[in-house]
Amino acid sequence: MSQVRISENGAQFCQSVFDDMMTQSDAVYGVLISTVDGHDVVKCFKQDMPASKLAAMMSSVLALGETVAIEADQQQCRYVIVENSNGYILTLRLKEKLVLTVIARANANLGMLHSITRSAVEKLAEKLK
């Protein structure tokens, strides 16, 4: 079990941010906050997906992205994007110990996804300790 727990209040705030993201783009069907070491914390999935497995996988993916960025001398990794025939998975760091993952269908506009995700991270980072 993860020691990172957020208050009921905090969880509600996250859910409202997730709802906003899904309203801003109807292609978004999953948002997950997890820890850098791979535990799920809060999520909003419109479709059944294994949150705990995704949380572990996203921490690996983000860690590899960050490592590759350094190896290739490209400084700081902003996002890791996995572009698939049926959609996108976008993941980025949220504060020091958290990870935000956004899962969207293929009809999403990548630029839109970026901006929605960026502004969500700003809101979440401000609220979460």
């Binding site: 079990m1 020691q3 070491d37 535990h39 572990a56 921490s59 020091e96």
Partner: protein, 175 residues
């Protein structure tokens, strides 16, 4: 064989990342992040994707070393990392509650891979405890019909890590 891939696995905190850092000739690739769960009482960082290091053996053979994450939730990485591998080093942390059970579990987790390749067992943190005795590990291996070398090592020492790699390479060459 001019390039070989070896995988190092074992329980969280056994010393996989430490071993690769001790022996790699190039700065190791690490994917350690902050621990946020009960493991944080033991260590501040844990591997979430892999460790990577390289070294050259006497005959110019290149060895690529891959360290796995120790924690079970990263099991999917174990399967990815063993692809194309030629052998496995299992580190057994002797300060844990049941090191023999840990060894059996890792033999089981990687059984398909081991069946096609081979393994070496490294008993770590022997400076902190001298139990269980070495014999018991050999017996446990025997019971499973396995004949793998078992070493007491300090993975912070380059020479000890080299010993396991050399043993694994000879095991593979002569099997």
């Amino acid at each position: 064989m001019s390039e070989i891939k070896i995988i190092i696995t074992g329980t969280p905190g056994a010393g996989k990342t430490t071993a690769i850092a001790a022996i790699s000739e190039t700065p190791p690739v690490r994917t350690d992040t902050a621990t946020t769960d009960e493991l944080s009482e033991v260590k501040e960082q844990t591997t979430v994707a892999m460790d990577f290091g390289e070294l050259t053996l006497e005959d110019d053979q290149k060895v690529f070393l891959y360290g796995t994450p120790g924690q079970r939730r990263f099991e999917f990485m174990w399967k990815i990392l063993v692809q194309g591998g030629l052998g496995l080093i299992i580190l057994v942390d002797c300060t844990r509650e049941d090191p023999l059970a840990d060894m059996k579990m890792y033999l089981e987790n990687f059984s398909d891979f081991i069946a096609e390749t081979g393994a070496v067992i490294g008993l770590v943190k022997r400076d902190m405890t001298d139990t269980p005795p070495l014999d018991e590990f050999y017996q446990a291996l025997n019971q499973q019909g396995l004949m793998f070398p078992v070493f007491e090592v300090d993975v912070r020492e380059q020479g000890d890590v080299a010993l396991m790699i050399d043993a694994l390479v000879s095991l593979l060459e002569y099997s």
